[in-house]
Structures are given as structure tokens and as C-alpha cells.
Symmetry: C2
Subunit: 146 residues, 2 copies
DNA sequence: AATTATTTTGCAACTGTGTTGCTTTTTTAT
DNA sequence: ATAAAAAAGCAACACAGTTGCAAAATAATT
């Protein structure tokens, strides 16, 4: 994949917003850009800082919520109760997330990764239970920290 | 298993505390009792309410933290960022939790269950990643809500 | 391009959760 | 019974997240 110019990225961001019937605003552009130029997942704090204190805290909360609702980003649960967000790469849309990959939290660098190629396993539940979504978070040492 | 008398339970609680080298106090007794007479997991709020507003909020926090540290209870992560606690049934101890079961959250009654008999699956990770703990939370409809 | 309608933002104020320092009370050891 | 150690309660605080509302920005219409 050739490296994209800043302009190409901007176009891509705008089209992503329009495709989701969202007004194109500074905060949405900036926050989407952060996600695109970031590999791992981001905590709310990272995003607030990354946006350069240019936007109000409330705007960041509302923007993230909007993106989750539209299926643009998804939430990653962690044991320490600190929500992380990451871009959806599957065919998620308004009202339906289809993220079937697992998540990895590195104990060393503390980064959170979407392992898009590792699908969630089938879990055999006891009689009477029926499964909807399965969430898997693996904790360990990541590629870069070995 | 024969139904235990109130007295038998009290003895069991006290011995559990002593085994973990913890002073036997009212709050610890009461909170352990809540866990024992409860099937599912409990949120902090449930515990605070269940204890009958008899103890300070801070005491409840500190008691739960102590129990987690000692390997008496474990934390269950959820997507909505609300921590739940449940008794450890495996051989957990101070500094080492060994809870290898999965967790189930019912979308209907909103209860959280430890499925002690369902062990966490082996996850095949991409080259370079090494797994430590694996956390699985399944969301769906529970036995009682079908 | 200008006007209007709609949506989003920022601000302030508030709520809820969890933490910390310190004093008093309770529990444990002697 | 006394002394030492641990835990509880209180007050104050820090921090995350929410809400209502007026101002600003964006989108739709003329
Ligand atoms: Mn993901
Ligand atoms: Mn459990
Ligand atoms: Zn790492
Ligand atoms: Zn249920």
C-alpha cells in the first residue's frame, strides 16, 4: 500500500463521515485522523490529549459515542475498567457491530491491539444458556516487547 | 449438600478469614456472607446495598480490594465498564489468581455468572505475541430467562 | 450567495465513583 | 488487662462522565 498524502487522508476521512450521514466538523475530522494514524487502541485520555486540547472534553465524549453508534469504532473492555476505543475494520454499521476478533493487552507497554485475524472461538455453554456476542481479551507480551 | 445452618456459615466465614490471615471484622463477615448466599456476581453497588448501609463506602471499597488481593474474590470485566465481583472457587491465593473459567452476562436479567465448568479456550496468537491470562465474557440469554 | 433550518460545540454545573490522610474504634497479641 | 496493630469512619478531594442550554458551525433551501 503506497503511503497516503495528507490530502488523500483528508478525503478519505470526509468520505467516511458522509457515508455515515454525519456532518463534517473539525473535531470529528481530527479524532478520526488520530485513529487512522494510530496502530493500537486508544483510551479516552489519549484521544483528548492527541486532539491537542483543542476540543472540549464533552465534545470528545459525544464524538466517540457517535462513532460507536455508527459502527465506526468499537469499545474494548479491559479488566482494569478503562475503556479503549479502536477503529472497526469489519462491516459494522449503525446499530450493528460485527467485530469478531479478539483483543490483546500488553503487560509491558500497556498497549491494546485488535488482532483482526484472530476470530473469537466458539464457546460450548452449559445447557440452557444461549450465546450472543463473545468478547475475548488476552493479556501478555506483545510483538514489540518480546 | 445439606443446607447449612446460620451458625455453620458463620464458622465457615471465620475460618476463611483466618486462613487468609485477615482480622475478623463485622464488615468482612457481612460482605463474605453476601457472596456466599448469592449465586451470580455482584457489582459494588449491590454489595453496598446488601450490607444494609451499615458500613461506610470506603470500608466496602477497602474490603473488596483486600479480598481481591488475597485471592478470595475476583473481578469480572464487562463491556459497559461496570466491575462485578465473584467468589473464587479455584485455588487462588495471595498474589496468584487462577480463575480459568469464562463469564456470562445475561442480556435479559442483567445478571453475571461465573461458568466454573467452562474453561477458557486456547487462543492461537500471531507470531511474536505470548499469552498470559485469557479473559472471556459471553453475552446472551441465561438459563432462567429462556 | 444569502437566508434559514439543523446540528454540533463549548460552557457551567452537577452527579457518581473511587481515593487519600488522619483520627477513633476495634481486633489481636502479649 | 494492657499494649500493639489493624481496620473503620469521616471529611475532603480527584476524576470521569453527564445534562441543559446558549452560541457557533454546518447543511439545506431559496
Ligand atoms: Mn477490536
Ligand atoms: Mn468468575
Ligand atoms: Zn508491548
Ligand atoms: Zn437472565
Amino acid at each position: 500500500m503506497p503511503k497516503q498524502s495528507a490530502n488523500e487522508i483528508a478525503v478519505r476521512i470526509e468520505s467516511l463521515l458522509k457515508r455515515n450521514r454525519l456532518s463534517v466538523t473539525d473535531s470529528r475530522r481530527k479524532i478520526l485522523q488520530l485513529f487512522l494514524e494510530h496502530t493500537g487502541a486508544m483510551a479516552h485520555g489519549d484521544i483528548e490529549k492527541g486532539a491537542g486540547e483543542k476540543f472540549d472534553r464533552v465534545t470528545v465524549y459525544r464524538t466517540l459515542q457517535t462513532f460507536v453508534d455508527k459502527g465506526i469504532i468499537h469499545i474494548i473492555p479491559t479488566a482494569d475498567n478503562s475503556i479503549r476505543y479502536a477503529l472497526c475494520k469489519d462491516d459494522c454499521g449503525e446499530g450493528h457491530h460485527h467485530d469478531h476478533h479478539i483483543h490483546f493487552v500488553c503487560n509491558h507497554c500497556n498497549k491494546t491491539y485488535c488482532l483482526d485475524d484472530v476470530v473469537t472461538p466458539d464457546i460450548k455453554l452449559p445447557r440452557g444458556y444461549s450465546a450472543g456476542h463473545v468478547e475475548v481479551v488476552v493479556e501478555g507480551i506483545c510483538k514489540n516487547c518480546q
